[in-house]
Symmetry: C2
Subunit: 468 residues, 2 copies
């Protein structure tokens, strides 16, 4: 392996490190139109695994996928006052189509509450049509003046769930259920351990009554919102006339929810686990879990066999027998790409019926007997998965401190989370710390739990941080 | 089952039948912006199965998925003369973003050769970077003045493959390989049997040197282009400067290909297999392969057991125990939705340890012993799959006739395919029949095979039809 760093060290310049790792791991690059992003095969393979995992969780909880149009009539946005206020500044607008100016310009969807609300109003008639549980995988556009790959791009990919219910209670339950589903994805698959809580009024989604969020802590001490789940009350139901006849035959407005996770989560994966040598992918989301590197041509056949054995053991393995490229260069490349386990095979290993196994997370290198290697790698992958989760959890806990009032962050310029009783902060304090670049990421119960819909803000604890 | 038809019969008004079945099977509906489409859960579930099947075939042939931006700078289109001429009239153009007029308007992608060509020029340096085998799943926009659900919509979903190669030979081989992959999807999974051939110069993709196509015959005797695969020569490589240094260190332009299948294929599935009672889904692509209908409440538990047994046998089963809705209505609904096998369970069936099994394709109804029902349904599904393929193949063959010169179609106003020696038609004849609404769907070798890239048009047979 090369000894000189190919990436800017994190401690030196974190944003530069982030750009470096995205470029060197071939995850993504800027598109030709400012703010847009090209997701390269390695980045997209990670996204595909996140998608597949989340999609099955969404289906298991009873939702069906559908697809709604990219183009939305402008007047749809105007029906919900907060929504139009929130999204107007970010809209991309199509004014010409088919060689002519359009009679009415149309918006490129920034999110689909409006166009789906319009469908719901036709699809729902009776309480028997409820709950209506929909999801879509789509691209959305929010014009970005300060784009950053994966974190803020004018176009991004996401899933957006949209559901309609007969009662507030059921809609709130759904909102919390999907919040939990996101946590399971992030915790169990992505080895991340975000703080879960409720947004303050200032930080809510445009048009929502309640917004629940998952806030991860990145390795530079900044927080990142990784997913949100909204209870929309009857706001969109009123704006789009989504009504149902209840069991007594009375017409009532539905209660709706929406929730989304985007390609932003790839950015959080990079900044949660990556180190100075590159990405470190949790095995469950790694497109390639183990790479078998044939050091020299004469062991290529052995390497191929080893690769086949790993695949037979259920490991997503890749064979690297590109011996035209130097071994050190190849090892570094796979390291940057974050493959969890590297198996290096040279003539001496073959002689000794052994394999050199390197863990990406710790860098530990050990010789393993060739026999039983499949099962050993499976165990090692479990271990890497657990270690990454433990590491990020410990880091989050170490970087979370308690304080009181706005001064808790204003004095210290603290990295990480500062826990401040909401009663000592309030909306005035929230505005004060905002000027110094801090925001209330979420409100959490004193016991660390997620506050219910009816729990008042007073008595809750604010998690405060600088955020992406 | 209801006896009065809920759909307009095909023989009475085929386009109306098509609209009816899309509405009643809840496949899709028009979006609020003219020409756009909402794909409802049942329609989307079919598309998801097509996607999964095709995606694995695309990956098995060595391609990697990636994602390229929705927005393309207008000047990109101008670099390839034929391409801009072909697509300009269909472009949707964004002129405003983030509340301000853009300095340069941007196009919403109608296809991605240009934006991917720009990436290829950076990603490819040496012959060692070739072949570059990419695919993306995405939405594209081509402004449609006469939209038709699934067949012609301003926005549609598709996959578009884009590859770069060192030589013409390899690129042509790739073009034909993906043409064959599409055939395998359509034949093996969708029980369709399209005619395979090469497009005439007049019908080629804008910017291609060769276009290969798959032309299905719909039940109204019209042809439908279901997928295309293009050899782009060095046209885009020149326009976007996609070069590589060959083994001698000489700089050369790549040879590129592109190929796509879209949600249009859902339209072809409807029109290939649908009958007067609704959709008929080939089991391999059916989101639900068998529905278990509990006729009355008292058999709900037995129905649940039966459903579990089918799932254990590997059948995608759905339980319908919605006994609030009349049995006849439910049976008709599942029939319209095209579920291949219906299992009806009433008190008498339970008494006799039997199940009433109805095949959607033939309408045959039989009583099966309850024991061993899982294996029986698996066999039945195979049989339905094979029958649908045999039926559509027979129909295509019966509706294909031979003729000579333009008069072969001008005289008869023939439905189906007319096979005419290209030498008796030529470009002049092609223009003549176009006035009467006929087009050369493709050119095929006299033995029925796909003509190679170097086989001249003379000596080939033109398949002529009216087309969607």
């Amino acid at each position: 392996m090369s000894k000189q760093p190919v990436l800017t060290p994190q401690s030196e310049d974190f944003p530069r490190w982030y750009q470096d790792v995205i470029a060197k791991a071939e995850l993504a690059e800027n598109g030709p139109v400012r703010g847009t992003m090209t997701i390269r095969p390695w980045g997209y393979a990670i996204w595909e695994r996140i998608q597949a995992d989340l999609d099955s969780r969404i289906k298991e909880t009873g939702h069906e996928n559908a697809y709604f149009p990219l183009f939305i009539p402008m007047p749809f946005f105007e029906r919900e006052a907060d929504h139009v206020e929130g999204f107007s500044p970010e809209l991309a607008v199509v004014t010409h189509g088919g060689g002519a100016e359009l009679g009415e310009p149309v918006a490129v969807r920034p999110t689909s509450e409006t166009v789906i609300g319009d469908c719901m109003s036709r699809w729902i008639q009776s309480h028997r049509d409820l709950p209506l549980l929909l999801n879509q995988w789509a691209n959305v556009v929010r014009w970005e003046l300060r784009p950053r790959l994966f974190l803020r791009t004018s176009e991004f990919l996401w899933q957006e769930g949209h559901t309609a219910h007969a009662s507030r209670e059921e809609a709130v339950e759904e909102t919390l259920r999907m919040h939990r589903v996101y946590y399971d994805l992030m915790h169990d698959t992505l080895a991340m351990n975000p703080v879960l809580g409720r947004k303050t009024a200032a930080e809510r989604f445009a048009g929502a009554e309640l917004t629940y969020t998952l806030e991860g802590l990145m390795r530079d001490g900044k927080a990142l919102q990784m997913g949100t789940s909204h209870y929309l009350g009857q706001n969109f139901a009123r704006a789009f006339d989504i009504t149902f006849s209840d069991t007594d035959g009375q017409l009532a407005h539905c209660h709706t929810t929406s929730w989304g996770v985007s390609t932003r989560v790839v950015g959080s994966l990079i900044m949660t686990h990556g180190d100075d040598r590159g990405l470190r992918l949790p095995p469950r989301v790694a497109p390639v879990q183990a790479v078998v590197i044939a050091i020299r041509d004469e062991v290529a056949a052995d390497a191929r066999e080893l690769h086949a054995e790993l695949e037979a053991a259920g490991v997503r393995s890749r064979l690297d027998d590109d011996t035209h490229t130097g071994f050190g260069r190849r090892a570094t490349d796979w390291e940057i790409k974050g493959v969890p386990v590297r198996l290096e095979l040279g003539p001496r290993d073959v002689e000794q019926a052994a394999v050199t196994v390197v863990r990406r997370d710790t860098g530990e290198k050990a010789s393993h007997p060739r026999s039983g290697i499949g099962a050993a790698v499976v165990r090692l992958l479990d271990d890497v998965q657990a270690s990454l989760l433990a590491e990020t959890t410990a880091r989050r806990d170490a970087e979370t401190r308690d304080g009181d009032g706005p001064d808790a962050v204003l004095d210290g310029g603290a990295d990480g989370f500062t826990r401040i009783a909401w009663s000592s902060l309030g909306e005035a304090g929230e505005a004060t710390i905002a000027e110094a670049g801090y925001t209330v990421r979420c409100l959490v119960s004193p016991d660390g739990g997620v506050p219910g819909a009816d729990t008042p803000d007073d008595g809750l604890v604010a998690y405060v941080a600088r955020a992406y």
